[in-house]
């Protein structure tokens, strides 16, 4: 039987197991939208902006591990997805974006709502397609899902000209996809795995740094097994948070610019780094020449380009984190048995001393709400069981520092691109996937306003997303840099007019709550957690002077951290560093 292109799209999505699409209609995608009108199995979440749709699909993908799907129209619909696609690309998140396109005959004619979205998204997708013939459609969609979800995952865009969705062809579902130019390598090289095991056996001061790759490869168990067996402490990058239990005694939290003192100290003193599914981002390494000066480096990553891109590597292993970690542990268990606790005793004791020396902390205040306090209370009330998303800036760092993530896929944040406006729609996407879970966006007043329109979407679909705004009336991280490095010249970082978020929430039909004093924080959170059928905006008026510490200034080495209470003293040194 023949099917139209639009019918093929719907059929393929169902065969790929898709249940939800995030999207926004427009002229050239109406063939597809028309089919969604009375489809029982595929539900489209109508967002209020295409960017929101992509972030929602991204949050859905991060929370579930399944690819997120987006459907938008041509031209502005398509260009509005670019930030979302770039966000997913930088963080290796599998999403499939279907964009409408003007009819093939009009392509290149500057037709109404035409944009060369394949050209525009070429550098920020893992791969993209313009389908010119309906006969290629089913295979293209199959390939897109395959590419997006295998190897190092990433976004794939499919551009669908209007006539292609209207044309008919015999539907043929390709069971298997082979691409001669794309064969991700999952098994690590055996010899390299042995080398890695032998380095671990020789090492006195090892540390594991786990990144987002551990989460995308579902390797949390293997990571925990290896860490516990060999008693190696674990540091997680921002993208890796949740890969290893945050409450575990071997957990050292996050490294880098706003990482913990003890994590950074551990890296600088270690004799072996076992880097898994992370790519040595500049925010993690600080000044690269002084990064981990005494350490040999084992680097496990599925993407060969990540290896030796930024740091020298002694044992490179291209492969899937799950299989490689398992392989290393197996070799360790097969070869000489060690009394690991005796071997590690001194090292772990030293790290413990650093932990006690400078724990992650802040000064509680009776009068003004400290933003860190809000994050701590959210953690207490949800017992760490919630899915947390963040915006970008101070809110993101405080969430990463003070919320302990015990499970993977419970922390959704734009790590690579650093996209303000990401957190709220991402939380919405996660809530669609898990309607009964508590999903909280830890937000800033600046970031929240970048996709505030999605309140309408949440109200429409009765999504009880909680937004905790750490409201300081400033673009806080920008302000922090201006205070520390630009002589307190707060150029355009003060948001003179911040709306009354409680009224905004109410205007949308959501619940708005506010706390202005520390004593009100608990009540607001309690009240918010009770709401199960609509979004809640919690407006926490926080101390605008608060800064994220510790901090490794840009261009400094990891052991050149500055701390809050020592700010005055260290400031001179800072300028010298720059």
């Amino acid at each position: 039987m023949k099917k139209t292109g639009a019918e093929i799209v719907i059929e393929c999505l169902k065969r790929e197991g898709v249940k939800h699409i995030f999207g926004y209609p427009g002229g050239v995608v109406l063939n597809i939208f028309d089919l969604l009108y009375d489809d029982k199995d595929l539900k489209l979440i109508l967002t209020r902006h295409e960017q929101g749709a992509v972030h929602a699909a991204d949050g859905y993908a991060r929370a579930t591990g399944k690819p997120g799907v987006v459907l938008v129209t041509s031209g502005p619909g398509a260009t509005n997805t670019v930030t979302g696609i770039a966000t997913a690309y930088m963080d290796s998140i599998p999403i499939i974006v279907f964009s409408g396109q003007v009819p093939t005959k009009l392509i290149g004619n500057d037709a109404f709502q035409e944009a060369d979205i394949v050209g525009i998204t070429r550098p920020c997708t893992k791969h993209n397609y313009l389908v010119k013939d309906v006969k290629d459609l089913a295979r293209t969609i199959r390939e897109a899902f395959y590419i997006a979800t295998t190897g190092r995952p990433g976004p794939v865009l499919i551009d669908l000209p209007k006539d292609v969705t209207g044309d008919k062809t015999t539907f043929q579902w390709p069971e298997k996809i082979t691409l001669r130019g794309y064969n991700p390598k999952y098994e690590g090289n055996k010899w390299m795995i042995k080398q890695a095991a032998s380095l671990i056996q020789k090492s006195k001061k090892p540390v594991i740094i786990a990144g987002g790759g551990v989460i995308s490869s579902n390797a949390s168990k293997e990571l925990k097994d290896l860490a516990e067996y060999t008693m190696i402490p674990v540091i997680m990058t921002l993208m890796g948070l949740g890969a290893f239990p945050g409450t575990h005694e071997l957990c050292l939290g996050m490294p880098g610019m706003h990482g913990s003192y003890y994590a950074n100290r551990t890296i600088q003193e270690a004799d072996l780094l076992i880097a898994v599914g992370m790519r040595f981002d500049d925010r993690v390494t600080g000044r690269i020449n002084d990064f981990a000066p005494h350490a040999k480096i084992i680097h496990i990553d599925i993407d060969p380009t990540s290896i030796r891109k930024n740091v020298r590597v002694d044992v490179p292993i291209v492969g899937d984190a799950k299989r490689v970690l398992k392989g290393i542990l197996q070799v360790l268990k097969e070869t000489e048995k060690k009394q690991w606790d005796a071997v590690r005793k001194a090292w772990l004791k030293q790290i413990d001393k650093w932990k006690k020396e400078r724990p992650l902390t802040y000064e509680f205040d009776e009068e003004v709400i400290k933003p860190q306090y809000v994050v701590e209370r959210l953690y207490e009330f949800t017992k760490g069981k919630a899915i947390i998303s963040t915006e970008v800036g101070q809110n993101q760092m405080w969430a990463a520092q003070f919320f302990k993530f015990d499970k993977p896929r419970t922390f959704l944040t734009s790590g690579g691109l650093g996209t303000m406006g990401y957190g709220f729609p991402a939380a919405m996407g996660a809530q669609v996937a898990f309607p009964d879970k508590t999903v909280i966006d830890i937000a800033g007043d600046g970031s929240f306003q970048m996709n505030i329109q999605e309140l309408a979407t949440c109200v429409t679909y009765k999504l009880p997303v909680k937004i905790a705004i750490l409201n300081n009336m400033y673009l806080g991280m920008v302000r922090q840099w201006q205070e520390l490095f630009y002589g307190e010249r707060y150029s355009y970082s003060y948001l003179d007019v911040v709306p009354d978020f409680v009224k905004v929430a109410e205007a949308y039909g959501a619940v708005g709550l506010r706390a202005t004093k520390p004593s009100e924080v608990d009540d607001v959170i309690k009240e918010a957690l009770k709401v199960k059928d609509k979004p809640v905006v919690m407006d926490f008026i926080v101390d605008w002077k608060e800064k994220v510490y510790p901090m490794v200034p840009a261009g400094a080495a990891l052991d050149e951290m500055i701390f809050g209470e020592e700010k005055k003293k260290k400031e001179k040194k800072l300028r010298a560093v720059k």
């Binding site: 050209g119 070429r122 550098p123 893992k126 691409l179 001669r180 130019g181 794309y182 060969p304 380009t305």
Partner: protein, 161 residues
């Protein structure tokens, strides 16, 4: 250091754009690039001449390999290979120099492919050194126009790829 990289790609629209935007987006340098179909019309081959230290070249080959439409990447610099380039030079020598131009063309095993009362168009193929040497010799006679293909290269048979 300069490297000659041979890239087998799917013969599809947009592939050249993917490769060139990879180079521009990541700040790699392209000295020359030539593309053509292979015996299999579904596959094209690109010969890219680029410069960079070992770390950059390693990234270039890895990044090329990462593209879905790239089938195989070979850095020919590391193996024994043959390189060729072709130029067409239109020279306008004075009457008394014409014989010398023809003589040099012959020495370089070039061919005159077009002539007019005032000009010769000479075709020369060879490796880069030969071509540069010929161009330098022609310069004093007055080069009117000059076109040069990118380099194409092939590994010698029997060497390991």
């Amino acid at each position: 250091m300069r490297h000659t990289i041979s890239v087998l790609v799917e013969n599809k629209f947009g592939v050249l754009a993917r490769i060139s935007s990879l180079f521009s987006g990541r700040g790699y340098n392209i000295e020359s690039l030539s593309v053509g179909e292979t015996i299999d019309p579904q596959i094209s081959i690109m010969t890219i001449v680029t410069t960079g230290d070992d770390k950059i070249i390693e990234q270039i080959t890895k990044q090329l390999n990462k593209l879905i439409d790239v089938i195989k990447v070979t850095d020919l610099t590391e193996i024994d290979h043959v390189e060729r380039e072709m130029v067409l030079i239109k020279v306008a020598p004075k009457q008394e120099d014409k014989a010398e131009v023809l003589r040099l063309t012959e020495i370089f095993r070039g061919r005159v492919v077009d002539s007019s009362p005032r000009t010769y168009t000479v075709e020369i193929t060879g490796d880069e050194k030969k071509i540069s040497a010929f161009v330098e010799l022609m310069r004093p006679f007055g080069i009117k126009e000059f076109v040069r293909t990118g380099k194409i290269a092939i590994a010698r048979e029997g060497v390991k790829k």
